[in-house]
């Protein structure tokens, strides 16, 4: 219980740190929100009045504390460019992005875990060497390039799938319109499989050398039982941790895939906000990304601790 409490406390401190860093950074970059909101043509007097009215002329630290209190009330600020609450904007887009990312992640894990274990069991054989070589190649390929090649092959040369993702506003579109979501999903899955499979391979290799595997085999357990009942359970824990650690990467992958396939989710919202210099949205989404990472790591640690009783958190 102690460890859990300590771990949660540390996470809270990190969260506070993230909010401070992101806030200060954006404050440094966009020192006059009035100018950003009213545009280059607005008079200096109007800009000053705007900044005064919304409290942007106060010392930065006071603004930060104010922002924190506002966050605690669940208020993420207001986008002056779109004249809309940031919270509303994010909520409109979040379900679509979440479904896309989750589906991509699940698809990747379903492929990567068996592949990694197969590679470990067949270590040094053809299948292992081929998979490792392909991983090296794909690992060196930026995700947008994977997407472009997929579009080139499966949309231009062989017109199987559309080059643009579905524009539907339903978060379930991943399942209801699989044809238009196939290429984004495959892109996400490929980029993730490359990382997860190699990790799963080394985790499984490490476990295969351990005594309990030899004992299980000596007892006469079939290879299938050894792999599914004994190995899988122990070799899968590093992957859980990895998913937690990789959340920033998953979010970045989501951003790029949404950009390439023009899928209206959080990533595209972020990019459009960049072009609009809509700093409240950028601030909120970056904060949420940081929070997701911290929470993801915490949850991953807890899950691993539950799965493996030998681990005590915080030690």
């Amino acid at each position: 219980m102690w460890f859990l409490l300590r771990r949660v406390l540390v996470s809270l401190v990190v969260l506070l740190g993230i909010s401070l860093v992101v806030f200060l950074m954006l404050n440094l970059i966009s020192d006059s929100p009035g100018r950003a909101a009213l545009g280059q043509q607005a008079s200096q007097a109007a800009v000053d009045a705007f900044n005064r009215e919304h409290g942007y002329d106060r010392p930065v630290l006071i603004q930060y504390v104010d922002y924190l209190l506002q966050l605690l009330r669940g208020d993420l600020g207001r986008s002056y460019k779109l004249n809309e609450e940031v919270g509303t904007l994010l909520l409109q887009n979040a379900p679509r992005s979440a479904m896309l990312s989750l589906a991509g992640l699940v698809l990747a894990l379903v492929i990567a875990i068996p592949l990694g274990i197969l590679q470990a069991v067949r270590r040094g054989r053809f299948i292992d060497r081929a998979a490792t070589s392909i991983s090296y190649l794909l690992y060196a390929t930026p995700s947008f390039l994977i997407a472009l090649v997929l579009i080139g092959i499966f949309s231009q040369t062989i017109p199987l799938f559309p080059a643009e993702a579905s524009q539907s506003s339903s978060p379930w579109v991943v399942f209801t319109d699989p044809r238009s979501m196939a290429l984004p999903l495959i892109t996400l899955a490929i980029t993730n499989v490359v990382v997860f499979a190699q990790y799963q391979r080394s985790a499984a290799l490490e476990q295969l050398g351990m005594d309990y595997i030899r004992v299980a085999r000596a007892k006469g357990a079939s290879e299938r039982i050894v792999l599914t009942r004994h190995l899988l359970r122990n070799a899968i824990t590093p992957i859980i941790t990895l998913v937690g650690v990789l959340i920033p990467t998953l979010l970045a992958g989501n951003l790029i895939v949404e950009a390439v396939f023009n899928y209206p989710g959080l990533g595209l919202l972020f990019l459009n906000s960049l072009h609009r210099e809509d700093y409240p949205v950028l601030l909120a989404y970056t904060l949420i990304g940081g929070a997701l990472t911290v929470i993801g790591n915490l949850v991953a640690d807890l899950v691993v601790a539950r799965a493996d009783r030998r681990i005590e958190l915080g030690r």
Binding site: Y136, L145, A252, G253
Partner: protein
């Protein structure tokens, strides 16, 4: 994006007790003996020669727009065709390659230097200072790297120097963690105690004793970091926050080629994409082989 890649790629080396001091020739020999190391090194040398010596063999005009010869497929006089501004694609690959390699290297040097000093200070000083310094790293590692880089890159006019600083400025975290780990195990060794007894200051300990002994980790990290920086740079260019005319890099080139994807101008996409992949592949192969060479150093 890149931080996590580096984190996965750069596993920690085994404890120092099992390693001998670095002998450069031994590392180079074992590097050359491994197939991945040889492939990576040869590939990298070829790519660098292509970018820097290529223009001497295949000189092209990369400053004046030539709309009469725009978007030509590969053919006479233009081995890889021309882009929408009439620039020779082969020549543009060389020029963009120079810029991409330079930014990748500069960003990596910057990130590794910053990370090394930060990690060494945290590891040597220890205690509360170490605790605070490493929590700062935790905080920065939790913020999605690409978001930060995009926000900053979008705000400032991109030049090779600013892009290197922005990419490097957010990529030093993994290096800091690795070097701190190394320093933690080095600082209790006799030669460090001896230096301390002789009155060496912390600064002298760090720069004359600790950092030189972590050189293996540093060089491995640097290699992977160049690869990661080139990928991030390409992503920035692709998303439209790369360099602008007349300077170009591989990502920006790819980005302008993508508008013609539907027109099937394949020569604007696949060659430059291939060069990005080959460069990153070469660096990753080299990094892996270097790590192995330093781990199991042959006598």
């Amino acid at each position: 994006m890149s931080t996590a890649r580096a984190e996965v790629a750069a596993e920690e080396l085994p404890s120092l007790a099992t390693r001998n001091p670095i002998s450069r020739s031994a590392v180079l020999r074992s590097l050359w003996r491994s197939r991945t190391g040889r492939t990576g090194a040869v590939l990298l040398v070829v790519l660098v020669l292509f970018c820097y010596l290529g223009p001497l063999i295949h000189p092209t005009n990369q400053t004046d727009v030539d709309l009469l010869n725009a978007a030509l497929p590969p053919g006479d006089g233009f081995p890889l065709g021309t882009d929408s501004n009439g620039f020779d694609v082969l020549g543009r690959l060389m020029q963009g390659g120079q810029v991409s390699l330079q930014i990748g290297l500069l960003a990596a040097v910057f990130a590794t230097t910053l990370g090394t000093i930060y990690g060494a200070v945290a590891g040597l000083v220890g205690g509360v200072v170490d605790g605070i310094m490493m929590r700062v790293v935790d905080v920065l590692l939790s913020i999605p790297f690409l978001f930060f880089v995009l926000i900053i890159a979008a705000r400032f006019t991109a030049t090779p120097l600013t892009l290197s600083l922005v990419i490097g400025g957010f990529s030093w975290l993994v290096a800091a963690r690795l070097i701190r780990g190394e320093v933690l195990s080095l600082r209790v060794r006799e030669f460090v105690s001896a230096a301390r007894l002789m009155g060496a200051s912390n600064r002298r300990l760090i720069f004359s004793h600790l950092i030189p002994n972590t050189f293996g980790v540093i060089i491995v990290n640097l290699t992977f970091q160049v690869a990661d920086s080139i990928i991030v740079l390409a992503a920035l260019g692709y998303l439209g926050f790369g360099l602008s005319y007349p300077v170009t890099d591989w990502g920006s080139q790819l980005s302008s080629g993508v508008s013609f994807l539907a027109a099937d101008y394949w020569w604007l996409i696949y060659p430059v994409g291939g060069f990005i992949v080959l460069t990153v592949l070469a660096l990753n192969l080299l990094g892996d082989a270097l790590r192995d060479a330093i781990e199991h150093r042959s006598p």
